[in-house]
Symmetry: C2
């Protein structure tokens, strides 16, 4: 175990910083999964000072990209420069030097993907790009490896967080596009020049990659129809709402008998659809396959660590490839067999949850205080309470609690049931809030 995969980082913006942090913070888990340590050994960025303040002292930081791609010590280059000029040159050179490449650069792949993939195949290196589409959602892996039994019929996605944030705010607050854009810029959800996002170009880049993977065609960005959200008016959002719809900027690609559609445009989506409920800067992609039917994949589409999550997954893929016997590339249980651990498995008594409690009481003064006293004794705090169905001098009580240990809840339930004013069993259903 534990040979070392040596990573060269190109660029040191938020995603690179996040990648560095995740690799360091989760080094133990990542090594247990990958079968080798994945370590950043060299960084090139136009503003080295930012990186120098962030990373361990022993890691050399340079402002010369060539230093990284020519370093014989580097196994994998992570390109996080962005854009299509320097990034293209440097990725091509890295591949020519026999480096594997991980990139988050959708514009690069939308424009030069075919050329880059062909060169990588020739040089027998991997070019991995999970982070290029929908950030933390592993949609590339899902399409490329998870749904391989299917003829993909179509795919539709919210694949630009900025525009989804803007449309969500317009919907929630009834504000005009321009107002919400300013707010989004202030909050860092939109760039100073928001053109790429709001005109649908960024979504178009991603869609061209997804369409290629879905249908087995070359990447073809220039054929993608793009229409942005600048013209969307509040009144259309409001009419759509009255009719039962939300307006979302979708990337859509369909394989019809006559050919393939590729288009990005604002779209009315029925409020019945899960896609309509995807709000804020979140991303989601719906894929329809002839065998699997409709599947949906949801998560954060941008941001430092969500994107880093995808970059690191690509690095683990490369590490596993460099490491393993082919049949053991991915360990059956995700972690290398030797590194499985017997972590303490908690008995149900120790589980923490919130609770819904229902029981019937005799409707006389002091009943509630007897019940709440029991809960207080068990340190179970009440979130809300409902009293219902009073007849024959009986009342139904429903209590929602805050989080407490199962053992304490069991005790409290037993005590409540033994109260003379309580004349039913306590129905208990657990409650989770996922926050």
């Amino acid at each position: 175990m534990t040979n070392k995969i040596k990573v060269g980082l190109l660029g040191f913006g938020v995603v690179a910083g996040g990648t560095y942090d995740v690799l360091k913070r989760n080094a133990d888990e990542i090594t247990r999964r990958a079968g080798s340590n994945i370590e950043v050994v060299r960084i090139a960025t136009r503003t080295p000072s930012k990186a120098i303040g962030h990373v361990d002292e022993h890691i050399p930081v340079t402002d010369n990209m060539e230093d990284v791609i020519n370093d014989p010590n580097v196994d994998v280059v992570v390109e996080l420069i962005g854009g299509t000029t320097t990034a293209k040159d440097i990725v091509i050179k890295a591949i020519e030097n026999g480096k594997h490449v991980v990139t988050a650069n959708k514009a690069l792949l939308a424009h030069y993907g075919n050329e880059i993939f062909a060169l990588a195949a020739e040089k027998k290196v991997i070019v991995a790009f999970e982070a290029a589409v929908a950030g933390g959602i592993p949609i590339i892996k899902t399409m490329r490896e998870g749904l391989t039994g299917n003829r993909i019929l179509w795919l539709a996605g919210i694949i630009n967080g900025t525009t989804n944030f803007i449309l969500s705010e317009m919907y929630k607050k009834g504000l005009a596009y321009e107002q919400v854009l300013s707010e989004a810029q202030r909050l860092g959800y939109a760039e100073a020049d928001p053109t790429f996002d709001v005109e649908g170009i960024d979504a178009g880049h991603k869609l061209s990659i997804l369409a290629a993977i879905a249908f087995g065609i070359p990447v073809n960005f220039k054929h993608v129809y793009t229409e942005g959200i600048r013209e969307i008016q509040e009144k259309d959002i409001s009419y759509a709402r009255r009719l039962g719809y939300r307006i979302k900027l979708l990337g859509i690609t369909k394989h019809r008998e006559e050919g393939i559609e590729m288009r990005v445009h604002p779209t009315l989506v029925s409020q019945q659809q899960l896609l309509a409920s995807v709000d804020g800067a979140m991303n989601a992609v719906v894929v329809d396959g002839d065998a699997v039917g409709q599947t949906l994949f949801y998560g954060q589409g941008a941001g430092s660590e969500p994107t880093a999550s995808a970059v690191v997954a690509d690095l683990v893929d490369v590490a596993r490839m460099l490491n393993a016997n082919p049949e053991h590339r991915v360990p059956a249980l995700a972690f290398q067999a030797r590194s499985l651990r017997d972590i303490n498995l908690l008995p149900m008594q120790e589980v923490i949850s919130s609770y819904y409690l229902r029981f019937t009481v005799v409707d006389r003064p002091g009943v509630l205080s007897e019940v709440t006293e029991i809960l207080a004794k068990g340190r179970i705090s009440v979130k809300s309470m409902l009293q219902d169905e009073e007849h024959d001098g009986q009342a139904t009580i429903i209590i929602l609690t805050h989080r407490a240990k199962e053992g304490a809840a069991n005790e409290a339930i037993k005590d409540i049931e033994s109260l003379s004013c309580v004349n039913s069993k306590v129905v208990r259903i657990r409650m989770e809030n996922f926050v």
Copy 2:
């Protein structure tokens, strides 16, 4: 290209039939992705007659499982017998014979997974089991390969379709558990003996596998707390609804500092959560990773072809491993580079969509008929219409159309704008219904 991966099928129920059908129907796409043909060469089932009526004549069907696992011609055995007795023996023997194994058998893995995986590692074969959890949703691949950069914090899922169907029907129709169960049995959503599903045991099997993969622990089914839905009463569903919650049977596993929780039980989930909207027999899993945040994966959890989708994906994984240079195991664009095709890319004129149209008219008789005449001429049928905001003799018209070609819509919009009674541009937003 195109060496051949030879598959032996064990069992011939609905999933095996679906697997056979998908492999045959999508042979072209699958070969283009896998880099080799994947062919069923032998089938063993207790009732050969069913298989014989279904599959191509040249494929030998036997009632002796040993025939398949001892066939030197078979590369991969697909175990779809179910249960934990014969299935265990036969999987162990297949591995000992050096066969790769694909299985959908969660009970088998929940009980004997550790033993089976250890033997597979020793014999250098793959045991793949995407179909064992959440059917068509590639959640095993996602956890094992897509989220490898994360420390998984918790995971919660609707991973049993039968119970989700029952709870959804109780919610929608206000019926009692027993009534809905009978209906579910009649529709084939529940077995004659529904114990495994309604008691949460099936979900527990799946949860023990997911927890192992999430946290790097051995599979430990006997530690999973399971509580089913038999006791759930209509009135609790109805109180939960009043309080803003849905009741779902969830499998939940959390990594707390003190240890790991693993539990299956009915759970109140806020209606704000996407998970609450997962209805009918659908499955969904929410995973929270420290880098990626919350992600959700949704799709069909059972059924012939959704499950087959997962089985075939595993077969493609095996094929790619047997085939490829390691760095080229998964082609960059999902399909083998040589098999990319230049499929006709449709110009926007040819795209088919529904439309939301908004414009202002002079409010006088005959206006609507002039507009609808134009739409009829373009063979665009109207789905619904709304007239609003009449003042100053003006009215706003909103029309939702059925599906039509973009070209026809463009023509109609031009013609509507040229009507003397129309005194605004036509705002057009496309509409998709994903059905």
